[in-house]
């Protein structure tokens, strides 16, 4: 007697279809799960057994072997509880076996037979749909999230008894009042503030606008209280809505982290992550044994990663950012295999000019020695700084500074600039100016603009790589100005955004 059901095993965001088979043998009662289950999945034996008994169903007094196939793929977590229970019930003839074998089952069981919500339902349902499955059974509390994926039939169940009745068992008893099973509490990030709140700071405001238009990584240096954090937190508000593919990837990561409210639908706004400077490398890039979990850079996918007090971060932590900045994803290797998470984010660094914060500030005196100052910035490695297209100084706010334009006004300009860039880059695979390579820049930038940059290069003011970066920024400035291509003035402006102090 063999019962079958289907489940999904998640490795990072990649889901694999898993065939769950249950075999009943006339031997001493035992229950074993094979197919590389981890400790959390081994525990599902006890949950499944109790849930079946609590649902008015019989636990077969046989030697039960459950196989999770492909047997070589490591599996983890409580998401397969429901599929294991259905396979056992099908093997013992307590549910309609043919009907049971046709669907994918996701959910964790509680001892009273209720089906509890699980994390990562969105990527799991998407993977099931991609694997050609047409019918997916999910916990009632995850129904809204599962329905974000189109083209599949979703059945939401509150308890194992309810599911057994759907599969033709009249005697099953649905768990009493499953009202105790609530969807996981989610605290949504507060709405980003409005650009109008930033008083004065015309230069820094413009730099943020250029960064938003071209997707450039940016570093702001300035004394405490100058408004660096305020500016950075307003950057996501300037970015356009995510497209469908990005929205699904972003929502999937947050579904896996349990930081997403399905009642709002797919996450369409770029996320903003601001980890504290005491964060470990694992917290930033993702980590954990067996199955590595996504870190701050993956939660910032499609949005902004803001590192305040950047030189206070551990050197090792900062250097882990280099590979994701290059490839747009992070690959975490563990003994059981590699996990891939998307990590294409816009990096915003903020730093004080020196450890005491007073260097270069009129009317206050810096007490840092030369060596402390050097050490402070020495933590930001050359390769990391190399990837920042824009580096600006943020001056302290002057008295009586005027209120600037609102987010809505600036975001509209950014949207127009981004649309212009996308039209220009159609067919190249790139969507923003920050992605342009050296060859493209040198063949497409008008000669007059190139000459302006060449002058700075010849005088040794910038490196060849710095030259490319300035050209990228110049294209964004041109896009914002509504020009078809940068002119010399745009390159000069871009150069000023590299060395601190804006033209």
């Amino acid at each position: 007697m063999i019962g079958r059901a289907r489940a999904i095993a998640l490795t990072g965001l990649a889901g694999h279809a898993v065939d769950v088979e249950a075999h009943l043998a006339a031997a001493l009662p035992a229950f074993t799960i094979v197919g590389l289950p981890d400790a959390s999945l081994q525990e599902s034996r006890d949950r499944v057994r109790a849930a079946v008994a609590s649902s008015g169903l019989d636990w077969p007094m046989r030697r039960i072997t459950v196989n999770l196939s492909p047997a070589s793929l490591p599996k983890s977590g409580s998401m397969t509880d429901l599929a294991i229970a259905v396979a056992v019930l099908a093997a013992s003839g307590q549910v309609e076996a043919r009907q049971a074998a046709r669907a994918v089952y996701l959910g964790e069981l509680s001892l009273d037979g209720a089906v509890r919500p699980v994390r990562g339902v969105l990527p799991a349902v998407a993977a099931a749909a991609a694997a050609g499955q047409s019918h997916i059974v999910v916990p009632a509390a995850n129904a809204a999230e599962a329905q974000l994926v189109g083209g599949v039939r979703i059945t939401a169940v509150g308890s194992l008894g309810e599911l057994a009745r759907l599969l033709g068992n009249e005697n099953a008893v649905p768990a009493a009042a499953s009202g105790s099973v609530k969807p996981p509490e989610v605290t949504m990030p507060p709405e980003p503030g409005d650009m109008a709140d930033v008083r004065g700071q015309e230069a820094a405001r413009y730099a943020i606008e250029v960064a938003a238009a071209g997707g450039h990584h940016i570093m702001m240096t300035g004394p405490p209280g100058a408004g660096k954090t305020m500016l950075a937190s307003r950057l996501p508000g300037l970015l356009p809505d995510l497209d469908l593919d990005d929205a699904i990837a972003v929502t999937s990561v947050h579904s896996l982290c349990g930081t997403f409210d399905p009642s709002e639908g797919l996450m369409r706004r770029p996320p903003f992550e601001a980890p504290h400077h005491s964060a470990s490398a694992a917290a930033i890039v993702g980590g954990g044994s067996m199955l590595a979990r996504p870190g701050a850079i993956s939660r910032a996918h499609g949005g902004v990663l803001f590192l305040d007090e950047a030189p206070e971060f551990a050197v090792r932590v900062l250097d882990t950012l280099r590979q994701p900045l290059e490839s747009g994803e992070v690959v975490l290797h563990r003994a059981h295999g590699a996990t891939r998470y998307p990590a294409r984010f816009q990096l915003v660094l903020a730093a004080n000019p020196c450890p005491c914060g007073n260097k270069g500030v009129r009317g206050s005196e810096c007490i840092c020695s030369a060596i402390t100052q050097r050490r402070y910035f020495g933590r930001l490695s050359g390769p990391l700084l190399d990837r920042l297209d824009i580096r600006i100084d943020v001056e302290p706010v002057r008295r009586g500074a005027e209120e600037g334009e609102s987010t809505a006004v600036v975001a509209e300009r950014v949207a127009r600039a981004r649309a212009a860039a996308r039209r220009r880059l159609e067919g190249t695979g790139w969507t923003t100016n920050a992605q342009l390579n050296s060859r493209w820049l040198r063949t497409h930038t008008p000669a007059a603009a190139l000459a302006a940059g060449q002058h700075a290069l010849d005088h040794g003011a910038i490196s060849a790589r710095g030259f490319d970066r300035s050209l990228r920024v110049a294209w964004s400035i041109a896009d914002l100005a509504g020009e078809p291509a940068p002119v010399a003035a745009h390159v000069h402006q871009a150069l000023a955004m590299r060395t601190g102090g804006i033209a």
Binding site: A27, L28, M61
Partner: protein, 118 residues
């Protein structure tokens, strides 16, 4: 004799009768040595079988076959070896069966025969 022992005896009698009806040759009942006891030693075709009989009146404390633990099985294996050493007959194979007997309040006893459990 305590009531539980009487239940056990009754179960063993029921099982012996069933096995003989199936054409098994029962060689010994309640064979004892210093290490323990085998309920039934019988021959099924060419195989020697040590049968452990577990009898229960209710399933309140679980079904009878659940009471056969891995420790009990390993002791049975040792006892079968000792039994074989104590006589001269040779067998094609040796195995251990469990017969789970449930005695309902009325009606015939229910026997579930699990073959080759250890």
């Amino acid at each position: 004799m305590a009531a539980k022992d009487e239940v056990g005896r009754h179960g063993e009698r029921v099982v012996t009768r069933r096995l003989e009806e199936q054409g098994w040759e029962v060689l010994a009942r309640n064979w004892r040595c210093e290490h323990g006891e085998i309920d039934i030693v019988a021959v099924d075709g060419s195989d020697l079988v040590a049968v452990e009989v577990k009898t229960r009146r209710t399933a309140t404390f679980g079904v009878p076959q659940e009471a056969v633990t891995p420790a009990k099985l390993s002791r049975l294996r040792r006892l079968v070896g000792l039994w074989l050493a104590s006589q001269d007959r040779r067998f094609y194979g040796v195995r251990i069966d469990v017969c789970a007997v449930t005695l309902p309040a009325s009606g015939p006893a229910l026997v579930e025969h699990l073959r080759g459990v250890g």
